[in-house]
Symmetry: D2
Subunit: 450 residues, 4 copies
């Protein structure tokens, strides 16, 4: 097996069909509580309809696997090749991205029938000792589908938030998993001290990784510390109460332009329900979630903030603690260095899609070291999304997957409460523009070590 | 019975419940072939979702009738009062117009249940000798619902046209009613000759009319003639073939800006299927309709053109006929004057919603006089939409129905193939901005008489 | 002499060169107080630079007179034909309108040199019994230049208003002409009473008129009355103080959208200098004028309002006077009917460009009848700009002067304090979109007569 | 002398007044050939008027030096503090950036008089052993003014390019300095080979540096090579001729969106003068420069390209040379590492503002090593503009100079033909968004070393 699309370890490869069916079923399960109308609407250009997600991930298997490997391949519906192509110029034309929500036909039932037909053909392909090349692309397709599972949830949250009736996707609140334990105090965890140190970043195999996580390469880390836990809703309330969104002092120039032109006054899904003189009272605010509109819990990690907001908060926080070194966002290499060390407990304790919470949760102090590195919220870093030294994109059209986005985006790390647990890695690089808020994006502070 | 909302004649008033049920059923019937997804999407700000139409017309009865006349009125759902208010500031706040398509809940089934509940309460209200005031508002509500029946079809046509698969609403083509007879030759019909003449315009009762059709008043008509039939697809092909969309000579300044900035090259739903050197070959073009994409028939009246296009065509047509007086759009008063004279045969021969064609049709020479005055397509006029002398808007919030739109709009007359036959009158004034194309808008030429 | 461009009366034709020089000199005189920088800038797409005006009116003479009638014509600079063409497609390409302010070369001095060169050639053309065709186009060119004299002032006012230092064009305030007499009380003047009456509208010659003022034609007037004087700043203050800009009840739907999207809270050049609880105190406001920022005088006619504002004021005013018939804007035919009767005193008493006030002024009761019909401010009418019955545009490229703008514009009548006195007529039709405010546009109320 | 604003070396500090006068005089000299109109206009939001530049750099000295250090300071004109503040929130409000071109008063003469008055007060301040703090801020002010000297030229070039008459700023072409020697062949220069190597980046003093060049810090370089010379116009022609702007294969996703939405087909100032089938013929193209529109010289370095274009070219170039390692943009650390080694000859041979060419020039092979590292064009790098490890912004309002722009910008290195020679350093970091083209931005290729 070559390494074009990364290694697939032996155990997984032993049961590709089972794994295929499990991932595919999980996608359909996420859509199960939704009406056809819910699955149809695109509330903004970035938030695609659930039906489109259901179709596009199927398109991926048909285009990159069946078309290439199935004998006598014939497309299920010739028009789908264009209709559900997201952005692969190497495959051909694409239906305009902003018009995904206008395609009311094929119906949801027809899309689900297509899924089933593709599943049957995929199972046939996987039945008899599939070639390594098949297994490699299969793994890309499954990882791709897991990414869209997270997007189904974030895009749906955005859609439901536009409805003045505040509809509920999952009627479960308060979350059973919310810890009644006293909140974990914030403190700094030293990771590199004294002198700059060489580390290794990037995927080290075995197991799947995207091309953008490779090659593994040495990098130089300056002495640094990480906050033990994520920034919380309660800390964010204090930022708002101090006029954080109205003071240019905390903001990058582009961030300040954004705050003013977009009239930003709080994280995306916060809703002011009372207008007292003191914003920092939790009961003045509620938060819209996949469980509907709920009270603001001060110990829950902050989420749905842009990188501009994360950066401004760090600068404000530093001014509140003048005796300490200034806080800032970690670089992606600092984050990865820490995560490599604590990967095992972070994965074990992580709040992922499988927890069913679908919302970040207050931290529990389960081990000594930075908590919540994996799951809960994607952590904004200070790093622009750029190729690693020696980077080579995957060959063929699938090489458009990651490489062509390496400009004007910022890296986020660690996965979220909407990420499937089997999808995340310490080398995983997510990326979004600095003004992105509809993802489960949050913040952990870092600082230089003396 | 006073005349606030116009007269309702005795026969109709005798069976208000039957008429109510018939109109309401017709709306639901139009939506019957549609999926929940089809009913959900708003493809552009002006084209509302079918589900919204179904809800808004119900809101009208609940707000203007039940709330006012029902003893112990209690709203079906308090939030609907805002959610389905279109533009009545007198009623209160409105859900933003551009976000109607984002409301996936209430579901289509819930909206239909609401319809049914309101219908039951309406029938109770109408059961025992309803007061004249009830009957008056009832008539407004039914006329209002008929307007939305037409909008359901035109908004749906726009939505389906955005789908690259060209879906079909009604699979019936060629239209059974299409006349195999030879086309009716164009000629001019004189209506006023010699000297200016006084006429009367506006609704003369009995029967319902909107406030904007009143008061009936004298108006002065200069000698004029009308074209016997509507401009056709075939004539429009000649305009295109002569470079009509590329020559500023034919266009009003604002029209030319519109053509260039919007890259307009043909009527809204025309699609070039071959690129020969000669555009004027019918087989080079197809047309998208509620029956799907169909061949271009040269004898069918042109439709889905803006007022800018209508005006440019008239100027181009005049240049092709230099020996004749220049052609132009008729004024609304010229049109009404002619329509009053030919109202009966025009209504009898008209192609309305009830024909099932849902598309304009080639004319048949059924009588001597201007043909197709009613039905087929709304005819753009040269008249800006303005109040008649002595105009008074209806009292109360329903006064916002028509009056507040009397600026920057152009009057259209005559109804279309999507208009219910019982809804149209010769005094009926429709109005849209000059760049509107998604309605069944077409063109009849007029000219000064020597 | 034919009538293509209207009649030029004998007296004026006897001295075309003198008149030519006088008009041309007036344009240069208006620019004299300005720096090259002042003459260069285009503060918004509609407000052209003074230098461009100086050049464009010269272009008009070179293109429509010298090029056509001068033997051995050679252009002064070939590029100017495109550079200073405003919108005549019949002449050829145009420099983009929005980029007029970017043309820093030719310099102001070069443009003035061009003016002088064209003047010399024009004088030669006019020297020896010029042909009637020359005199006709000459008159069009001079009327055209007078229009641009007004535009120079209104465009400059807009430019200076953008400068936070509030610069002064003409340092003369208070205006010497401001009447110390007690203000003229408002009252209604009946013009047609009892029954509708036939009148004649349009230019009746002799003397120049634009094509859009012809042909003179009968029109039907319904009984009406006009306010004796224009609406004043003081009356507008009361409208503001009553929350006029915050209440949708007064506004047309499109006007309300405009108010909210553009954050309109007062006429264009009003500036709040104190924020008391009572807006209706004059000293809370100042007004920016060509004399700089000056105190608000309650007796001065209101100016720099849009048609939306004029219409809303009329509706608000009517609600304050519930015992009276509703006030509204006059139609252009009502206005012209009244102006024909009072043309002579209105012209004699009018506040035009020549008064030097460059601002509307409180009215003096000089005669019995509607005052201020000519001069002070252009009066918004209820009439859309449309061709008169039998209208024919001038032949040739100059036919683009007026005709191609006959859509989506509203007629204004009467001239303003920036209009040359010799330029105005009772049949004169000015026209602008309904949201236009940078012209000297004001309001006189009208109403139906019982 | 502390190091808040960097060291000022002893020799320079000995004659601060002389240096002050020299820099100030150079700014005025750049504006000398311009009319008041040329100095007034802002052709796009990013390109400020020359008059504004002349005023803003004076504002800098008045605000940061006179206001702080002059006894009994009184502002020259109180309104200028807001009017000519660019973006310093710490100083207070700012006149809106997009409206700089609307300020026709103060006049150019008034701005020059202000300059002179400030110069006199500055000389008084510098007369008697000025305090170290004064000298530090003085140096910032002079470096700031030198930056604006380059901006005066690039903003002016943009303005003149908008004039269809193609005006000339400096009538000197062909450039005397253009080498008649045969062009230098492209080849790769190895800088780090074998294993990753530690290097030092950032300013090492003495001498002035901006805060963003500090602190000097170790960085890790992977083996790499640099192209010996810049990419040329001739090479770019080949890219165009191969359809480079029409093939998504070469472009980052955001770059491809930019190319299509902005209709980009060539570098900013290229103009097609003939439309042969073969774009790669130099005579088919001309280039607009500060010398007017001139023939395209194939050996001149490419300039006025965006980072998107630079990146696409590298990918295209690699595909033309499949046997070689892929070319890419250098990181800013690779560039600085090379420039440190060749700083002396690069500075000696560089084509800067002082050469008078005001355009990049064909390279001469003056030494062994990468040529043209300093001067000619700013070189796009692969590095996002980010703080160095341990970075601290300057204290006080001047800390807004650089730090608040550290997001969504790309670093450029090396200075250009419009940069004053005394202003550039190997540690100097320029930065612009990826779509910026109106600066003298060009490209040198890099690649990984095996």
């Amino acid at each position: 097996m070559n390494t074009v699309y990364g290694h697939t370890d032996a155990a997984a490869a032993g049961a590709p069909a089972r794994r295929y069916l499990a991932v595919r079923a999980q996608t359909v399960a996420l859509a199960a509580p939704l009406s056809e109308a819910d699955c149809q609407v695109q509330p903004m250009p970035d938030a695609s309809p659930t039906k489109w997600h259901l179709a596009h991930v199927t398109w991926f298997f048909e285009t990159f696997l069946l078309e290439r490997f199935e004998p006598h391949f014939k497309p299920y519906h010739p028009a789908y090749r264009v209709l559900f192509n997201s952005y692969y110029n190497g495959v051909g034309e694409q239906h305009p991205r902003t018009q995904r929500g206008l395609v009311t036909r094929p119906s949801l039932a027809e899309v689900l029938a297509w899924r089933q037909a593709v599943d049957e053909r995929m199972l046939a392909l996987l039945a008899n000792h599939p070639a390594p090349a098949v297994l490699e692309v299969l793994e890309v397709g499954l990882q791709h589908e897991q990414q869209h599972q997270e997007l189904i949830l974030t895009d749906l949250l955005y859609l439901l938030s536009c409805n003045p009736l505040s509809p509920v996707y999952r009627p479960r609140w308060p979350l059973a998993l919310v810890s009644p334990a006293p909140p974990v105090a914030q403190r700094w965890v030293g990771l590199v001290a004294g002198q700059p140190a060489l580390s290794q970043a990037g995927h080290a195999g075995p197991g799947f990784a995207f091309d953008n996580e490779t090659p593994r390469h040495p990098c130089l880390l300056h002495p640094y510390e990480l906050a033990r836990r994520l920034v919380t809703h309660g800390e964010w309330l204090a930022f708002i109460d101090d006029g954080g969104y109205a003071n240019p002092r905390w903001w990058l120039s582009a961030g300040w332009d954004w705050v003013r032109s977009q009239h930003i006054e709080s994280p995306l899904y916060w809703r002011r329900v009372a207008h007292g003189s003191d914003a920092a009272i939790c009961s003045n605010w509620q938060v819209f979630t996949l469980h509907g509109q709920v009270p603001l819990d001060p110990h829950t990690p902050i989420t749905h903030i842009s990188c501009f907001e994360a950066d401004a908060f760090a600068r404000w926080w530093s001014a509140q603690h003048p005796a300490q070194p200034a806080a800032r966002l970690p670089t992606e290499f600092e984050w990865e260095h820490a995560a490599q060390r604590y990967a095992e407990p972070a994965l074990a304790a992580g709040n992922f899609l499988e927890s069913g919470a679908l919302h970040p949760m207050p931290v529990a102090a389960r081990f000594d070291g930075p908590l919540q590195l994996l799951g809960d919220v994607w952590e904004w870093t200070a790093s622009s999304y750029a190729p690693y030294p020696g980077f080579q994109a995957w060959e063929g059209p699938v090489g458009e997957y990651n490489a062509k986005f390496m400009v004007n985006q910022t890296v986020l790390r660690g996965g979220s409460c909407a990420t499937p647990k089997s999808h995340i890695r310490t080398s995983y690089r997510n990326f979004f523009p600095t003004d992105t808020r509809w993802q489960f994006n949050g913040l952990r502070l870092a600082r230089d070590a003396c």
